[in-house]
Subunit: 486 residues, 2 copies
């Protein structure tokens, strides 16, 4: 049985991708068959894999990462491929076909012995493998009545994927709109095999977080945490890529949601008495983790740090106890916000009626992002705002949500409540009488240089609740114990 494996890392069976293909073909037939203008012959799905990307016009390429939809269906490591699913609409039979570049023989000097189509077929367990220059011939023989290509807009990035070009395209009936929402929806509900990969990459990422937590001390640089995380994930877990740029904020940097970017590259020395917010996730075989741990740099929480940390932890626990199949994600966001405000009130930072605070949108002052997001092959995974699903809410304190759906068993999401003290938002709240009336200004201002806390888990939605794949210390006691142990 063929598999993807790095070292002693998890062996991802190629049946995972076969399963994905079967699921997509079934969904296509189910949803399209009635509207197809033919009841025999072939319906084709044609996907273009990712291509090598060079660093500007230099001789250096980025380390290749496969495009996620292509990875979902074919699990192929190599750049420059195409893939086809040929579906017989009468029988429902499917043939999976991978097209690989025909490289000049002399490339073997730089790339190693070139694999034959038969070797690719054995490696990826697809039905057929051809060279890319055979695509035109294949299409002529398959004589599809309709070719579905992939094009659509990512609701998180706003970026649109263009449909692929191929020789002879004009000879066929093609459609580039039908496939995207159906394929995206298939990616939302994880299969048993996908769940095991996600569990693995979350465990590797969790262990890496724990190692970083034990390592960090005042005087270390933020980027030393990033480096150690990446090293553990790769050398121990076989994860060559991170799923996103590591966010390693200390002190006030812990309140910068996307800290770690090129202009602020985790380059600050960590100080005694500060909080560290480290948001880092590895990637294995394309599948992502996305975990945040927040902890005191010196290993021991102050009372103020406990106050904010436990407020966020309570919000997280409330969601973890409530989320399950059938529950609305918007309600979970509201629940987390309400619990956070309750705890901030209990600690003396806020005053007045919590339900009124919620209605006034006060929670977005402290947590200006959504409660979490779908996760899978992409860290902000597809399927958030598909045409058939609830639209993005208009209320400012809900509009940052990356999806507004009812949770279903098999969904995989992050739960990541946070509480940050961000100058612009703090000043804005104090200047707005509708918000400032709830604020105990002295206590509030005491936290101006606090930074922030985020607790982010990766959880599988089940019929009865959730299963959390992020296995890291979460309570104050657990974190302090971890950081004081070797």
């Amino acid at each position: 049985m063929a598999a993807f494996q790095m070292g002693s890392g998890y062996a991802v069976p190629m049946t995972l991708f076969k399963n994905n293909r079967d699921r997509v073909c079934k969904a296509l037939l189910q949803q399209l068959q009635k509207n197809l203008k033919f009841d025999s012959g072939n319906l084709l799905v044609l996907l273009e894999g990712g291509k090598d990307k060079s660093l500007y016009n230099t001789d250096v390429d980025y380390v290749f990462r496969q495009e996620s939809y292509f990875q979902y269906l074919f699990g192929a490591k190599e750049p420059g491929c195409y893939g086809i699913l040929t579906i017989n609409v009468r029988t429902g039979g499917v043939a999976s076909v991978l097209f690989v570049p025909r490289l000049p023989e002399e490339y073997s000097t730089w790339m190693g012995e070139l694999l034959t189509p038969a070797e690719f077929k054995a490696m990826y367990e697809v039905d057929e493998v051809y060279y890319l220059d055979e695509l035109t011939d294949y299409l002529e023989k398959a004589a599809p009545k309709l070719i579905l290509t992939l094009s659509g807009t990512n609701s998180d990035s706003g970026l649109t994927m263009q449909p692929p070009e191929f020789d002879g395209k004009e000879k066929y009936v093609t459609d580039c709109d039908l496939l995207y929402p159906i394929l995206s929806e298939c990616r939302v509900i994880k299969s048993a095999e996908e769940i095991e990969v996600l569990r693995y990459v979350a465990k590797v990422s969790s262990d890496a977080h724990i190692r970083v937590m034990k390592f960090i001390r005042p005087g270390k640089m933020e980027f030393e945490g990033e480096s150690l995380f990446l090293h553990h994930a790769y050398s121990v877990g076989g994860c060559r890529h991170a799923s996103y740029t590591c966010i390693c904020g200390s002190g006030t940097n812990s309140s910068i949601l996307h800290y770690g970017h090129a202009g602020a590259p985790n380059s600050r020395p960590i100080q005694d008495g500060e909080m560290c917010l480290f948001d880092m996730g590895a990637n294995y075989c394309g599948y992502a983790a996305d975990i945040t741990c927040t902890f005191p740099a010196n290993g021991k929480f102050t009372d103020d740090q406990k106050f904010i940390y436990n407020a966020v932890l309570d919000a997280r626990n409330a969601v973890a106890e409530t989320a399950r199949d059938g529950v609305s994600w918007v309600d979970m966001h509201k629940l987390a916000g309400k619990v956070l405000l309750q705890r901030l009130k209990a600690g003396g930072m806020l005053q007045g009626d919590v339900d009124e605070m919620v209605e006034a949108g006060l929670s977005a002052v402290f947590q200006p992002h959504g409660l979490g997001h779908l996760i899978g092959l992409d860290v902000h995974d597809v399927g958030g705002y598909l045409p058939t699903e609830p639209k993005r809410p208009n209320e400012p304190w809900l509009s940052k949500l990356r999806f507004a759906r009812v949770l279903r068993a098999g969904m995989y999401v992050t739960i990541e409540p946070g509480c940050y003290f961000i100058k612009r938002l703090m000043d804005g709240a104090l200047a707005n009488p509708e918000l400032s009336k709830f604020i105990n200004v002295d206590v509030f201002n005491r936290f101006r240089n606090f930074g922030g806390v985020r607790i982010e888990d990766d959880v599988l939605i089940t019929q009865n609740g959730i299963e959390n794949f992020a296995i890291v210390p979460r309570t104050v006691e657990e974190i302090e114990a971890t950081m004081s142990s070797d």
Copy 2:
């Protein structure tokens, strides 16, 4: 004095980039002034900085790396900038102007407090900083007689950089051809300040190589070496990026010149008795290292391993003793090839007259790549085949050279002779009577599964010789001693 610094890493003074700018402006005036159709007013150089690159249409960006020409002139970490040098052609006076994106205030929540133009000016020590939306106004006031933009083809990648677009371009006389060769030539000769950065990143990379060499043992995975190298370079040296994808080949993989690519991601367990060829280089403030160490997996050379290793080492030493200002790089390539063939003959693998072997091109059977390349901001640095310099040689065994120039003091190049046993090339040589007559087939075939050896240094060319910035164990004795120490 403003500087770029990561942790306790080298503090790169911003005067480095000021120096670069002055050098370029001087070269432009020197080479263009006679042909300019104006003798007063402004000549402008306008460059576009690198932009953020997303991973397909997802919400994830690659970690940003600045475009090298822009880095050379402005040293700016941030994406989305433009830069201008305004040269008064009568006085020779220069104003350096950086244009930064005007980000919406709410971006501070994700990116941290937005820097003001004054803060950018202090950070990069340029003369003026404006927002990008002020570029049009700036140009109108500067009223340039001619705007030089950057466009040209990289002689290693074959990729062409397109000239930048900007509002109002049609109102000005622009030229996109003059700048590229002059700016590229400036990058070839390193300044004193650049040399110190290159020395630093080579030292960090050398130390990382040594750490990897001590760590590797039979049973380790190749990628564990990659991971440890990257971790040392980042956590100790502050190098967030590698200069190119790490090549960590063991056994026959050590003969694959660009091993480590996505299809062969350093994913093999290292075996006892094998050679390891690890080609890895860090990047600091844009500046590159490119170092290769080859060593036995178990720390002890066999006689066959010594034979090949010392043949390559002798070739390297011969070049190191001969290269200096005024010497032709093509001659150095020939010298390395000749010494290699001599040693292979002395060891019984070859027979006959060495000069005849050289003429027949036999060295390319063992080393199918050039002796080395210019290195600087790009690992394969620009300046190789500029219009004013010698053309790429036609002879097959010379045509892979990345430059064919006469060495000049201040050039920084790799010296990287190698000897590989590559099936396709071995079979080709045996099938070619012009080559096979020199080959002792039994000995030759004994090395079919040997893999390869490369020794790669990064050296500064001086008036009297070279200075080697790669400080790693090189002799058999040094390597064995390093690998047997803690």
